[in-house]
Amino acid sequence: MGMSQSMRTGLNSILSDVDKINPHGTLGINDSVVSSIYYAAESIANEVVSQKEKPKTDWDKKLDDILTSRVFGFPSMLLLLGVIFWLTVAGANVPSAMIADVLFWGQDRLTDLCNYLHAPAWFHGFFVEGIYRCLAWVISVMLPPMAIFFPCFTLLEDLGYLPRVAFNLDRLFKKAGAHGKQALTMSMGFGCNAAGIVACRIIESPRERMIAMLTNNFVPCNGRFPTLIALAGVLVFGMGSTFGATAIVVGIILLGIAVTLAVSWTLSKTLLKGVPSSFTLELPPYRKPQIGKIIVRSIFDRTLFVLGRAICVAAPAGAVTWLLANIYVGDLSVLAYCAQWLNPFAQAIGLDGFILMAFILGLPANEIVLPILIMSYLATGSMTELDSIEDLYNLFVVQHGWTWLTAVCMMLFSLLHFPCGTTLWTIRKESGSLKWTLLAALMPLGIACAICFLVAQSVRALGWV
């Protein structure tokens, strides 16, 4: 399907004329045209825009003087991060407990109904203890922190703070051979790693975009930090301090940023060699966020989203987990077999077989890792009711022999391990390469195993546990 002869000649004769009129680009067209357009824009703007008086206070300047200053730039960033997570940790407790109460009351009623109908035990097990309970866990543990973090984050995003983060951190990224806008894509990763991967499109250089995509996962997404928060809660259990838990979560996030920089540096020295490309970043004016609208909208949005995802992912995951825990081969359930098989390796990296199993089964979505773990433990333990951090503490520490090291290693593993299925799929789509997608899964897994191994082995060697 080529062009007809006449058209081809038409175009070619124009182009040969161009060569005569503008040999070797001597007219300097691009420079001249761009300048002329800007001068025209300037003169029109001067004609139609008038500014009677300067506004009394330049809020943009005042805010930037603090948020990007040499002294307060980094502390204010840390403080904002801390406040957001403190709000999330402290605010999520009460609604979490309330939702758990209601949902587990519902489970009892469903059990009553099954008994009344003389439903077979497998029916009750599969639907109530499998699907319903997994759903209940996802909703009660995961939803409240998400519903609080999301609007807070959106507020900062609408305000225009994220480009300032990129501005503040750029030098670190430059040193790591990465692009300054990677800070923006990481910020988006807090909301959702898949969204962070798509945001990497703003990075033009393919090399730096790939670095940003491969490391986005080291920012814990909205689906992971409820897990981190719950584990931090178990870790500081008994001290009754939300500040302690917040400090731990913020520490984990800072570690994630450090790992991002270290991995970016390594990649830019090895697989993705090259020099940093040119960098320009616009710092848009701050805008007053529409607070009411954001809160209503993102809670509503999030609630529906998490509920939708719970039904799509948690329900089947709950069903699979129940089946694995209740199909016996010999004396052991399939789940216990797998866990037992994984256990020696898992122990070496500070976890146990069930935790590792939960991470594997949780591949479709990070939200379901903790619920799956709880279900696996419940299926093998004696406890059936569980609706508070205290019960969680009892289940993990008292019944399953967790130490603080287990909680720390699980947090590290959660921070560093392979991205969720959706994110991997997005990486595959954005990079167009199965090879890079595989690397995006295996590299974090390797790092997670290595760091957990080092931590677990050193702590044990030092006799701290």
Partner: protein, 89 residues
């Protein structure tokens, strides 16, 4: 591409990178070539444009400049390629 160095005079040659914070200068020429040059022009850095050095990042680099109403940050590598004429008051 023609190297458009405009009315740039050697003696007061100075790059945007060296413009003190809070000061204003006029763009003289862009020393970059190719796509970087085109992008800089697209941002409005055509000869004669007023630029104001606004602030620097807590780590000293990049620096932010007001260019035709927008605040744009450049790394040292970029801002040293933008030549300006600047009169100290």
């Amino acid at each position: 591409m023609k190297n458009n160095s405009g009315g740039f005079r050697e003696e007061n040659a100075m790059s945007l990178y060296d413009l003190p914070i809070g000061k204003t200068a006029l763009v003289n020429a862009i020393q970059a070539e190719g796509i970087t040059r085109r992008r800089m022009l697209d941002l409005g850095l055509v000869p004669g444009t007023k630029v104001e050095a606004l602030r620097e990042s807590p780590t000293g680099d990049p620096k932010a400049f007001r260019i035709r109403g927008a605040v744009i940050a450049f790394r040292e590598e970029e801002s040293t390629k933008i030549l300006i004429s600047y009169k100290e008051d």
